[in-house]
Amino acid sequence: MEKTCVEQKKQYDILIIGAGVAGLSAAKSAYELGCRSILVVEHTNYLGGILHQCAHYGFGDGLNGPEYIQTLLDAFPNELEYRLNTTVIGIHADKTAVLSSAEYGVQTICFSQLILAAGCREIQAGALDIAGTRPMGVYTAGQMQEMINVYGILPQSPVVILGSGDIGLIMAKQIAEIGGEVALVEQNSVLGGLERNQWGIEQYAIPVYFDTTITELHGEKHLSAVTLGNGAELPCKTLLIAVGLIPNQELLDGIGHPDWLHLCGNCNRIHAMIESVVYEGKKAGISACEKL
């Protein structure tokens, strides 16, 4: 296998899965340590990962997501090889990865070290004990964030957000800012996210229903209301689920934790701050280089 890879020039010292902040930071640090055989693979058609859809400020020196990505790309070595619109569909113990893309079809790549920086995904409504119909108008908070900030599509108001973690708080503030009616439902008795994300709740007088959850959806075609744990019904046309994130580690199923594998960013653990993602990415790049 290795021989074929070398002949076909599909052998890399370091393969990095994911071109978000963690993957880009890892690539840059490995490059700065002298590694020149690096391939970054990204399933979307852009670099920068989730920051792409983060219109709010607070990254680095008070930048928003796209601005922060730009600073990363400005400092990014030109000759680093990356592929967009490419999904890794398998990782194998023989240090090969199977890639799928329009350009190359299904292709096997050999690597010496693998950095998994595949980010995380949101817990979606179907995973929760929520009864009722299955109408249109139910999204994950991040899905709506992308729709608003990248594609300019606004949610139908009123909006209910389940969960007051950072994403829930950020979305509540943004929807209030653009004139939408919004309410939060939080199962605990206090708000969840960082303090700096909480002030929007007070500023826009966003109602928060504490100590309860959503138990039922209503509406035949489109969402019309949700029922809370105490039986109260909240009329709404949009429900955003913001109850948590899960690291994307499914690619590792069946391969365990070999010494050539390095995890960083939200696919390792969920990070609250961009600085710790950058730090973890750098560390992964360094430890991959050390093993070469």
């Binding site: 399933h43 979606q124 179907g126 995973a127 004990d129 009722g132 299955r134 606004l154 139908q156 939408g180």
Partner: protein, 458 residues
């Protein structure tokens, strides 16, 4: 789906109109094409197989449950034998995984024995009554408390809407027209058939096949005094993440109170869990009690199944057929209130198993009435959408752009229609990562068509 006839308010004539594009209507349409008749399938929703076909247990039964001598018993036993061939013709995945009906108490034991003997009388192959130890050998994931099991090796599983859509595509390829977004509002008799008024059209048909699902009694009532009526039960379903450990067989759970939960290892790789029947609240709405009771029961029956890994839950509707005096009709009912009018009303379990046979039966009756000749050009073969390499749009299920575009070419006009043709959004993120990308592909592919979009305003 795209209409074949675009004219609005146009008066159109067909030999046969099939009302209702659930799996039964789709198979009636497919089988009608075995004859030289013109036909139109009229569906109220924007796609076929969106009603009770969709909220189905996906099981191909063997027929040990059905009363000896009944139409259900005869059709189920025969349909089960023919099922692999049917799925091969229509290029739909079918898994003959076998089933275990298991009981944990001695009262249920007698039920299993009764079903075993019933099955033998009906001609079901391979049935075996097993001890608890024998059951566990076949299915180690079951609770060690299992006392007895009825093994049916011929039980299988198939995706109900995939099968229905395949039958619809096959009917279309053989010349049947399909109208979606057309609700039948009125039917009146004419000299040689019926005038049917729908949302945007008026159509004449010499004969009608009524497969209108939950509304089938009402459609028949538009013309003929009610011989039968429908009332409804509900059920709750959980779809589990593909990654969890799951049983190899369909598991039916028999309790002292009757039928318990059902666990189905679906062809897609997900485990589907179904509650026992309950009173209907809102159609197609699940209940919290139902969801929780399925999870609790699964913990007792299949303790190794990780019930925290649910990716979707939904509610189903089950029709119960009643006669003139409210009595329960347990056999399949093929209504024939006039020589040119056939109805399939109140078809439930094992309707999926028998969909082709029921469709063929009504199609033949109508063909005989019309003195139609056999269509020698009929082809029973349909090709499914092949897996292709390339750019992956649905990350969870690894569905490529090419597969999505093929679904659009075959008539899908919504994200949901694409989902039901290629499986996008069926995985653990349930479309939260790919829905918008698919909407953009729809827009690119269908300029000017009525694409349902999430574009909304505050």
């Amino acid at each position: 789906m795209l209409m074949k006839d675009s004219a609005v308010n146009e008066q159109i004539k067909y030999d046969v109109a099939i009302i209702g594009g659930g799996i039964l209507g789709c198979f009636a349409a497919r089988n009608l094409m075995r004859w030289n008749v013109s036909a139109v399938l009229i569906e109220a929703e924007d796609d076929v197989c969106k009603g009770i076909t969709r909220a189905n247990s996906a099981i191909v039964y063997t027929g040990y449950d059905n009363k000896p001598g009944s139409l259900k018993a005869a059709l189920t036993v025969q349909s089960n034998r023919d099922f692999a061939k049917l799925c091969e013709e229509l290029d739909v995945p079918f898994s003959r995984c076998g089933s275990l009906l298991v009981a944990f108490d001695s009262e249920a034991e007698t039920v299993l024995q009764k079903k075993y003997h019933n099955g033998i009388r009906n001609g079901v192959n391979g049935l075996k009554l097993l001890s608890g130890a024998e059951v566990l050998e076949l299915e180690p994931m079951l609770s060690a408390n299992v006392r007895v099991g009825l093994y049916a090796p011929d039980t299988g599983t198939v995706n109900p809407w995939q099968l229905g859509i395949a039958a619809c595509e096959n009917a279309m390829a053989n010349g049947c027209d399909v109208w979606c977004n057309e609700t039948v509002s009125n039917i009146v008799r004419s000299e040689n058939g019926y005038w049917i008024t729908t949302s945007n059209k008026k159509v004449h048909a010499k004969a009608i096949i009524n497969c209108a699902g939950l509304s089938a009694d009402q459609v028949q009532n538009l013309l003929y005094p009610a011989e039968v009526s429908l009332d409804f039960d509900g059920a709750d379903y959980l779809v589990m993440d593909k990654a969890i450990a799951k049983p190899k067989h369909v598991i039916f759970h028999e309790t002292a109170e009757g039928k318990g939960i059902t666990a189905v290892p679906c062809t897609e790789g997900n485990l589907l869990l179904e509650s026992t029947a309950r009173a209907l609240t809102v159609p197609f709405a699940s209940t919290l009690e139902g969801i929780r009771s399925v999870k609790d029961t699964v913990k007792a029956v299949l303790p190794q199944v990780d019930t925290t890994k649910v990716i979707r839950s939904f509610g189903a509707v089950r029709p119960n057929l009643r006669g003139r005096n409210g009595e329960n009709i347990s056999d399949f009912y093929i209504g024939n209130p006039a020589p040119d009018f056939y109805s399939l009303i109140g078809v439930k379990t094992p309707g999926l198993t028998c969909a082709d046979a029921l469709g063929r039966s009504v199609a033949e009756k109508v063909a005989v009435y019309l003195h139609a000749e056999e269509n020698t050009a009929f082809s029973p073969v349909r090709k499914g959408i092949a897996k292709t390499d390339g750019q992956i749009i649905c990350q969870c299920e690894q569905i490529t752009k090419g597969e999505i575009i093929e679904a659009i070419k075959r008539g899908a006009t919504t994200v949901d229609s694409i989902k039901r043709r290629v499986g996008t959004g069926m995985g653990r993120c349930q479309g939260s990562r790919c829905t918008y990308a698919i909407e953009r592909l729809l827009e690119e592919e269908i300029h000017g068509e009525n694409v349902r979009r999430a574009k909304e305003t505050i």
